[in-house]
Structures are given as C-alpha cells and as structure tokens.
C-alpha cells in the first residue's frame, strides 16, 4: 500500500487545485445574461452587426462597385460569409434567378429603392437597431428606413396578411429569444447579391446573449419554392456602448425620388 498522505496536505493540494480550476469551471458555465425586472434575459439596447452579410451572405472577395463615380467608396468589401456550410441550397430554377438578380442588382435590389428590408436582412444591414423589451411584446426599431416590427410574445395566431417585415411570434427557450416569422410577401431580398425568397418564406430567429454586450444571432430560413432544404445563418450582434447612443432617422425615401421618378420630371421648355 502506498504511504498515506497526511490529510492536511491532501486538503491543501485539493484547495490549490480547486482554486486553479475555478476560472476554467466558470468558462464552462453558460453566460448568465442580466435580467429584466420580470426576470427575463435583458436584450434591451441598441445593436448592430459588424460584417458584410448585407453585401453577400456567402463568402465573397472584394470587388469594384457598380457606380463608377463612387470609386472606392462604392466598392464591395470582402466577407467570410455567414451561411452555415458556406452555400445557400438553391433549387435549380431559383439558382438561375439568383444569378439574374445578381447581374441586375443595381436595378432590382429593394434596398436601392429604399424599400423595407424584410427579415432577417434588417438585422445585418449596416445600421443600428434597438430592442425594446416588455413581457407581452418585444419591439424592434431599425434605423434603416424606419423599419419596425412587433414581436408578439402571447401567440398572435397566423399572419393576417402578407407584409415586408412579416408577422413575428416570440417565445423564450431558456435564455434564447426565439422568433417565428411568417406572412412575408415575395419582394424583399436577403442581401445586395440577389439572394431572394418567395412568399412561402419562413424564418426562425434565435437571439442568445453570449457575453456582456454580445448577442448571438441565428436565422433558419425555409422556403420550399426556392431552397432544397432549410439553411442557417449566424453572426454576433454587438451592443452600442456610446453613452449618447440613439437611433437616428434614416428616411431614405426622399433620397431615392430622383432615381425612381426623375425620368418623369417635367423637362425645361416643355
């Protein structure tokens, strides 16, 4: 039999091991988000994605922009991609349409016309958005085009009508806010690269606090008319910590009037 260690020494070693192990143990614990007054994970704040998903959900190289006059300011920045598995699983006909969308993106992208962004695109546009959370509804106000959606936490039933921003029903899955979004029209895009959907689109979003000031955002996208299977994007969302952070107004409607109606202007002398 091995010589028995004095128990006091064992205790001392155990104590050292325990202390040493603590940080590792803490790291293995799931992050416990701050709570709202009613005990739910507190998602309130002004958030923004920090990626180029709005240019192209899939991985992409930098490239020249579409408008010569904009030079470097209009060029497309590169991105590692946010699609799980790398590629969006288009059905063959839809893959062809995506190509055409891409080729004509300057003309067809709803963002160019200042149309409402839809979901999930609203989340990763290069503008902040604010979550205002209550027990019964969670409202998300997006700076881009003043887009807004109400997430009903009390099962609002099926979408009464199709819309750009869809019909959002939310519930909590542990510390994750899960939002089931239906009732889309077929007119929004997912990005500036022509990725699109039909009015059969169904999106399930998951917002999970993962550390102070960071939410993990996932969206599972299902549309049997366009994709061969459901697919998923994920990305972190970062909280704006500026003391005076606030959503400002970006009503782009006024900025696209020349683009949309300029050709219908009265010509001088006529």
């Amino acid at each position: 039999m091995p010589k028995q260690f004095p128990s006091s020494l064992l205790n001392a070693i155990a104590a050292v091991l325990f202390v040493a192990a603590m940080p590792a143990v803490a790291q293995n614990q799931p992050y416990k988000a701050p709570r709202t007054a009613d005990g739910k994970p507190n998602l309130n704040g002004i958030w923004q994605a920090m990626n180029t998903a709005n240019w192209d959900l899939e991985g992409h190289s930098a490239q020249a922009g579409q408008v010569v006059a904009l030079g470097a300011t209009g060029a497309e920045p590169p991105g590692i991609g946010v699609v799980e598995g790398g590629e969006i699983p288009y059905l063959p006909a839809a893959a062809q349409k995506k190509k055409e969308n891409y080729a004509n993106r300057l003309k067809l992208d709803p963002e160019v016309k200042c149309y409402l962004p839809g979901v999930p695109r609203a989340t990763y546009m290069p503008y902040p958005f604010q979550i205002v959370q209550t027990g019964k509804v969670i409202l998300i106000s997006y700076e881009y085009d003043g887009a807004v959606r109400t997430i009903y936490m009390d099962n609002p039933g099926p979408a009464p009508v199709d819309s750009w921003m869809g019909w959002s029903a939310g519930h909590w899955d542990g510390d994750t806010l899960v939002v089931d979004v239906t009732g889309f029209n077929d007119t929004s895009w997912f990005d500036r690269a022509g990725d699109f959907h039909s009015d059969m689109l169904h999106v399930v979003e998951r917002y999970t606090p993962v550390s102070a000031g960071v939410l993990n955002y996932e969206a599972t996208i299902e549309d049997p008319q366009v994709f061969s299977r459901p697919w998923k994007i994920s990305m972190p969302l970062y909280k704006h910590l500026e003391k005076n952070a606030q959503l400002l107004e970006f009503k782009c409607v006024e900025f696209v009037e020349e683009l949309l109606y300029g050709h219908l202007r009265k010509q001088p002398g006529k």
Binding site: A37, L116, V132, T134, L139, S163, Y261, R265
Partner: protein, 324 residues
C-alpha cells in the same frame, strides 16, 4: 401566403373635420382614486394600442365662435350634418365629385362622435380655439410655399405633399392628430424608453427617458428629436430638431413641441400637445385629443413601397403635355 395589401394613396381631399358621428361615446369618468398600473420597471403603464378618431375639428368652426362647448342638441345636429357632408358613399354630386369620392367610406376611420365634453375644437388654448396668427415672416413663407406647390404640382415629386411622397404624414406627427384612416398608435415601454409607433406610416419614435440633452442641433429629422420624462403619472415628451420643410400648420425648424400623455382611465389616454415656435406663430397653442384603447393591432403601412400614385401622377402629367 398569397394575400397582399395594396396601398392606395389618398389624393388630397380637403375634409375639414376628420372626426365622426353622433355624440361621442360618453367617457365614463374615472374614479378620482384611479391610477394607472406600473410597468415592471415602475413607469405608469401606457402600453397597448390606442386610437384617436373624432369628429371634433382641430379649429373651432366659425359657426361656433365664442362657444367653447356645445349643448347636447347642438352636438347631435352638428354630428348629423358632418356625417352627411363627408359621406363619400353618396352618389349625388355629379361625375367629378363622384370620382373624388371613390376613396369611399370603406377606407375611412373618422369615428362617429365629438369629444366627450362636446368642446367645439380640439384646440383648448388660445380660448378662441384657433391656431394663432402666423408671424409676418411665416405668412410669407407659407404663401410662397403654397404658390410654388401650386405652380409645380406635377413637375416632379417635390410638388406633391410630404404625405403623397410617403415621407411624413402630419396626422402621424409629431404631434399626432386624427386622420382619415390608420389612426392607431401602439405604445411600448421598455426600461428607460417609451416607443410611440404610428401605423401611419410605420413611424416609430424611440424616446429616451434618461433626461439627457437633445441631439446636436445639426442633427435634423422629419420626426424631430424626442426626449421624455415623467411628471407624476404624465409622460411629457419634448421634441425639437425638426426639419424646416416639416411644416406643421405653418411651423418651421424652430418648433418646440411638448406632448403630454396622461392615462385617465383604463381605456383612455388624454393626449395634449403644445406648439411653441416664436418665429412661426405669434403665440404658443395647445390641443387636446382623447386616445381610446382598442383591441386592434398595428399593421405594416408600406407607403413608399406601394406608391404607384406618384408614378401615375407624374406620368399622367407628361402624357397630357404631349397631347398639347
């Protein structure tokens, strides 16, 4: 889903009073002891969807000059007459009038009553129930703008109203007024913020309650820059930094708007706004409008996305020019 809502833009039909019929639903006076419930973080609870249609006009009609409140009989007669006048389902006006009435009662949400106390105008101050006179400079500006709009009505989008351009609806505000339709407003209160979401035209104001200063005055917005605070059970929202072209009944970029929201009963918020703009109006003025609780939800009003009217108006004008 295949349902689609088509957005139709209302051509400017000059309806004087946008409220609706008979005597207002008598507001049941809340017991004096009544106080609103609190939200989880302790704010007086204003949450829910509210609606503000009324037949009471913003300004006192000349026929009621000097008469701040109507009798029951006067109110009943007035409501009956108003409803008859504005009824767009009438077919008795000849072709042109008939065309103008094509935006018929199906679309309308004017309410059917005057405000409960039978006040003859929504304006409560000044006592004559009228918007105070504009300053000479403002009169000049408003007149020039009116003339320009008239002369350039179909030259390009700028000749149309901000509403027809889907930029801003003066009934959605701020300040908020009863409009011909889409009068619903949702209030959401999160920690430190109040959101006022108007269905017209998906305008959400996210209002900080932190007591901080307004945004830099260089930062201008159609909806202005709103800051809120609580005065007892009343939410006070202070808004500045308006874009000058957002002219509310003649206001300019200096408009300082104060809105007060008081939940006076489970089913009513008393909404009051004061316009203070010394470069536009010769004195401040205040209006009071009841917001009634509704079980409706607020839906998406995608105005710009469905704005076929702008294209049609301009294309029509160009086609007409070619014919000449």
């Amino acid at each position: 889903m295949r349902l689609t809502v088509f957005v139709v833009l209302l051509a400017p039909i000059g309806l004087a009073g946008q409220g609706l019929p008979v005597v207002a639903k008598p507001a049941i006076a809340a017991p004096k002891s009544w106080a609103p419930a609190r939200t989880a973080d302790g704010q007086p609870d204003l949450q829910g969807v509210w609606t503000n249609p009324t037949l009471t006009p913003l300004e006192r009609p000349p026929e009621f000059a000097g008469k701040e409140f109507l009798t029951e009989q006067e109110a009943a007669d007035y409501v009956k007459r108003l409803l008859q006048q504005v009824n767009s389902d009438r077919r008795d006006g000849g072709t042109q009038v008939d065309v103008n009435r094509s935006y018929n009662e199906f679309w309308r949400d004017r309410g059917n009553a005057l405000v409960a106390d039978r006040r003859s105008s929504l304006i409560v101050d000044p006592p004559d129930g009228k918007i105070p006179q504009l300053t000479p400079e403002a009169q000049k500006r408003v007149e020039e703008s009116r003339k320009w709009m008239q002369e350039h009505a179909t030259d390009g989008p700028e000749g149309r109203s901000l509403a027809e351009r889907c930029i801003s609806w003066t009934t959605a505000g701020p300040p908020m007024l009863p409009g011909p339709y889409n009068n619903d407003t949702q209030i959401v209160q999160g920690p430190g913020y109040v959101v006022i979401l108007n269905e017209m035209i998906h305008d959400a104001r996210v209002i900080s309650l932190d007591g901080g200063p307004h945004a830099d005055q260089n930062i201008r917005a159609w909806k202005g820059d709103s800051r809120g605070h609580w005065d007892g059970n009343t939410l006070v929202v202070d808004t500045t930094n308006f874009i000058g072209e957002y002219s509310f009944r003649g206001s300019d970029a200096n408009m300082h708007l104060t809105e007060r929201f008081t939940r006076v009963s489970p089913d009513m918020i008393q909404y009051e706004f004061t316009v203070d703009d010394p470069t536009a109006f010769t004195k401040p003025w205040t209006a009071r409008i009841p917001f009634n609780k509704t079980t409706e939800r607020v839906y998406e009003y995608a105005c710009h996305e469905g704005n076929y009217a702008m294209t049609d108006i301009l294309a029509g004008a160009r086609a007409a020019e070619k014919k000449k």
